[in-house]
């Protein structure tokens, strides 16, 4: 759960920047903050909290934090006046059990599998097993689900009988333990499972960076109104400096 967020201090000498939100963005934000303090120690103090994309958006909209982290795009229900600053990109991998190392899935394949059109692995090209397909998805409020639905499913809905979990980790664990399973997770979570190539491109950091891998989403820092003062300086540093770019490139996909 989200600990109580401290209000941004207004002390002119060393302003405090508070962040909350996406668990996908949090590790990246932590690394960026560490580097930023080394570059400019007197610029600001930081407090980093997690809680999920929607928590971040809601916190920043209510003025509880200075920056909300979000791994999903802006949406119609968001409060007005928010500015989404993209800071990095992140790939979404399709994963299957190691017993079922499918070489490749096209967008049409994925859509037929996840909307419930195909229910048996024998209907899927390249499947190493037979039997029923078990779908592992995320619930409606998830940023990863939002990206999956937009980037891959398009107008197709996800089948209503699909299991819905509340974190990347639970989806990964479930697929790792179910030979018939298929799911989708953020690139960092594709560890004990088989990452399936999508549209002929393997789901790797390198392919995501080169722009070949198509299912890539933005990670954002969100502010209420345009960023000003220390917050502006921090976000501007992330988006423009070489040092920040190096950090992003270590495990995520840089914007440029």
């Amino acid at each position: 759960m989200l600990p109580a967020a401290a209000l941004p201090a207004t002390a002119a000498a060393k302003p405090t920047i508070t962040l909350s939100g996406s668990t996908t963005v949090a590790p990246l934000a932590a690394l960026l903050i560490k580097k930023y303090l080394r570059v400019c120690n007197h610029c600001a103090k930081f407090k980093l909290l997690q809680g999920g994309s929607n928590i971040g958006v809601s916190d920043v909209a209510h003025g509880r934090v200075s920056i909300g982290d979000s791994s999903r795009d802006p949406q119609s229900t968001d409060p007005g006046g928010l500015v989404f600053h993209p800071i990095a990109r992140d790939a979404i991998c399709l994963i299957t059990n190691n017993a079922n190392p499918i070489a490749n899935l096209s967008q049409t394949d994925v859509q037929t599998i996840f909307d419930g059109g195909a229910r048996s692995w024998t209907q899927v090209n390249g499947a190493a097993i037979t039997g029923t397909i078990d779908l592992y998805t995320r619930n409606a409020a998830s940023g990863t689900h939002d990206a999956f639905a937009k980037l891959i499913m398009g107008s197709h809905g996800v089948a209503s009988f699909a299991a819905q979990y509340s974190s990347n980790g639970l989806v990964e664990q479930s697929v790792a333990r179910d030979p018939h399973g298929i799911g989708y997770v953020s690139l960092h979570f594709a560890n004990d499972v088989h990452p399936v190539a999508y549209e002929g491109v393997a789901c790797t950091l390198r392919n995501a960076k080169s722009g070949q891998y198509p299912a890539v989403r933005n990670l954002y820092m969100v502010t209420r109104g345009n960023a000003v003062g220390a917050v502006y300086k921090f976000i501007h540093w992330i988006r423009t400096s070489g040092a920040a770019n190096t950090i992003v490139a270590s495990d995520w996909v840089p914007l440029h």
Binding site: N54, V57, T77, G80, T130, T132, I133, N139, A141
Partner: protein
């Protein structure tokens, strides 16, 4: 003057008059009541739009809860057009099903185990069992959830359910191993130690004169336990059931991990498959969707789930109190 003051400071609470103690403690106790009342009012105020838009249909079946939750989450920003449609029957049914099944299984097991611990167990076993039961009662539910998702769910999915069974219902529901049976088994394991702890205390509190009288008349130990001691401890058994039911009702994390996380209503007419079908109780739905609280109509729907749970636990306490009243006359109070 000064010395009397420092004496008062040193003796502190010890010098309170009864009147003062009564007022202070009364104020503390009332604070708890006010907090509970405030919480109920708050949850209902938040939940009201969800109930008022759906009326009684909120509690009925119809459509798919997960699809409805998705539509509520994607409501337009204009509050005139917020979506509220929710037919929560599968969630209510799943909550009732897991809770009742686990409590029924648990209470049978707990009563029999308590009789053994109190009357039949050799002393060395008793000294081991007592602390172990109390330890089990305190294990955090997420630990049970981990064991469930890492061990039991894959076992049921890979060895109990046949591929034929999976494919026979593939277009309706997926049988992955996360199921009613796993949820009930783990829930039973979670709540039974609490019941055993309470019931053993109650059995021991039954005056020994009562059982000795029966033993002197030549009744055997099992009959004494069953007809006198357990009978006298009935109010405590009801209290144990109430506590265990409350824990089962509110269990969220473990159930969200092992129950299959899909709003499906298992159908008893499916025979054996009924036990292998997934479901998702109310409390698990709340934790799974807590991330979406920033969308107002979605939050109101989640609060409506919470309101139903709150009312159930209040009803549970009242029901327990009503059930215990007639038993009190010949029973042991606890």
């Amino acid at each position: 003057m000064r010395s009397s003051r420092s004496r008062r400071l040193i003796s502190g609470f010890g010098t309170w008059s009864d009147q003062r103690a009564e007022r202070t403690l009364g104020a503390l106790a009332s604070t708890v009541l006010i907090l509970i009342l405030g919480m109920i009012v708050f949850v209902f105020a938040k939940a009201w739009p969800s109930f008022s838009h759906n009326g009684l249909a909120w509690f009925g079946p119809g459509g798919n809860v997960d699809v409805q939750l998705g539509q509520i989450f994607k409501s337009p920003s204009d509050s005139q057009h917020w979506v509220y449609t929710m037919h929560a029957w599968p969630l209510l049914y799943a909550t009732a099903l897991t809770t009742v099944a686990a409590v029924v299984l648990g209470v049978v097991f707990a009563v029999l185990a308590s009789i053994f611990i109190v009357e039949f167990a050799p002393p060395f076993m008793r000294t081991v069992l007592d602390p172990v039961v109390r330890l089990l009662a305190a294990v955090p539910s997420v630990v049970y959830g981990l064991i469930g998702i890492l061990v039991l769910v894959p076992f049921v999915g890979n060895h109990v359910i046949s591929p034929h069974e999976q494919s026979s219902v593939a277009y309706v529901v997926q049988l992955t191993g996360a199921s009613l049976i796993v949820a009930v088994v783990i829930l039973t394991v979670m709540i039974t130690p609490i019941m055993i702890a309470i019931i053993t205390d109650a059995l021991r509190a039954v005056p020994t004169g009562w059982s000795e009288g029966a033993l002197a008349l030549g009744v055997n130990r099992w009959r004494v336990m069953w007809t006198i001691v357990v009978r006298a401890a009935r109010p405590a058994i009801v209290a144990a059931i109430v506590l265990a039911t409350a824990r089962a009702l509110g269990e969220a994390i473990m159930l969200s991990m092992v129950s299959g996380s899909v709003a499906f209503a298992p159908n008893p007419l499916d025979g054996f498959l009924f036990f292998l079908e997934p479901l998702r109780p109310l409390a698990a739905t709340i934790v799974d969707n807590a991330e979406g609280l920033s969308v107002p109509p979605f939050a109101q729907t989640i609060y409506a789930f919470a309101a139903v749970l709150l009312v159930s636990s209040v009803a549970l306490s009242l029901g327990g109190w009503a059930a215990k009243r007639p038993m009190r006359r010949f029973g042991v109070r606890l």
